[in-house]
Symmetry: C2
Amino acid sequence: MDKLRVGYIGLGAMGKPMALNILKAGFPLTVFNRTVEKAEELLTAGAEWADSPADLARRSDVVFTNVSNTADVLSVVLGQSGVREGVRPGMIFVDNSTISPTGSREIYESLRALGVSALDAPVSGGEIGAQNGSLTIMVGGDAESLELVRPILNAVGKKITHIGGAGAGQIAKAANQIMVAAQMVAEAELMIFAQKAGADPVKVIEAIKGGAAQCWTLDVKPQRLFAGNRTPGFKASLQAKDLAIVMETARQNLMSLPGTAVSAQLFNALCAMGEGDLDNSAVIRVIELLNNEALQTA
Amino acid sequence: MDKLRVGYIGLGAMGKPMALNILKAGFPLTVFNRTVEKAEELLTAGAEWADSPADLARRSDVVFTNVSNTADVLSVVLGQSGVREGVRPGMIFVDNSTISPTGSREIYESLRALGVSALDAPVSGGEIGAQNGSLTIMVGGDAESLELVRPILNAVGKKITHIGGAGAGQIAKAANQIMVAAQMVAEAELMIFAQKAGADPVKVIEAIKGGAAQCWTLDVKPQRLFAGNRTPGFKASLQAKDLAIVMETARQNLMSLPGTAVSAQLFNALCAMGEGDLDNSAVIRVIELLNNEALQTA
């Protein structure tokens, strides 16, 4: 059996290395991006260029998207010259973007009417994970479609979980962000708390990181903050965007999430300060301002 | 050199197994407790009984306390027939209770006037850690005093960190509880969020626990909650008490901790419902009520 022909739309910080890994795994690849310059490395490596999402779909068996938000995905898939105009029955569509579960369900229904199976497959693991193919992928949609594209996903991720029907991948990603945001806020609050109360936050982190508070966040982020390093990693503006999806989904489903609501407001504040391009751990900047206290740096 | 004679006051769920481990390590032990029945196992094992904290202090080189709250420690140490009445210069006092940093500093100053060095040494690791001697111990006070009693602490803990001066151990413990509480609340919110939005929370936890959200909490607590098991572990009422210490310390030092403030309120709500004797992960009961949704159990 010939290898599936893959199309990849959206060659940003995540999409470009993921598309490269798919190409390296031997899948014939066609790409599209709003700004053509970002495709150069891929074209040099052997990928082909499509003039539109519809054109890309006509030349592919499986179409991936990886763009910024719900509106962008809907436009690229359902808009003029979008993916939907180029599909044929039996194709599979995979969205690696993090968008609202309702957006993913709308795409699923729209493409199903044309005999196309859509998977929402948001990822976790950041740019490093995208580059070395070690992403966590949370998948919603038809399980049999996931099995058909799993050989492609294996080129970009190391843990691929089928969560449930359309939108379930987005729900899992949103749930993931609830915990990540809570840890970032708690890390910031506990370090400023310790320092302002008179204890050395370096020693406090060292003492507590192996106990009941243990988490990946405490394992890697404090040492970067103590070194004055607030570059991403994972951008605070994306954390804020993902928390907005959580709160929008919560409202649609009549949910109350008091802790997450506060996390979302603190990340919004960081973005309001013009610091959204920093790492998500930089939410400590908001806690520093609230407490008139700057974290010590080495 | 003869082994230091140890006195241990407060033989509750934590203090009793800790005192037993000190006795097993070969230190001559005298004990005191409000209710004498809780001392029986220790007396059978070779410990001696003291009629009051003052009496216990007279017969010891190092005096430990492990009681419920700041007022109890102050009473046992500074009150009538308290430890302070029985001390002599050169002795060391070690408080394993989790109390306010200001309470620890008050005791430090009061005992220092009599030539006694006080260490605040709260622990983390729960009843299991107390039983098998694997506690994390965060120590405030004079570093040289810690070195003198370290052979005794080695019998109860595996990670012993000197954080700083008097009260610094309590600050570290409070900081630890900021992160633990945040994780408990986030775990609860993300599981109810996922379930109510239509995804299987079991699969969501499985997908996210190894990624950026990784933490000891997600490693051990969801499987207990899915099994309907909400027994402690670490009691929610103690989590609420420790968060009250955080917020009191924050107020004294003019701090603003928006995330922790919400965590404290949710644990207060759990206690208000009469559920404070459950595990701290049972804070999901509050999130369940707020969302009119019960977590699925196996």
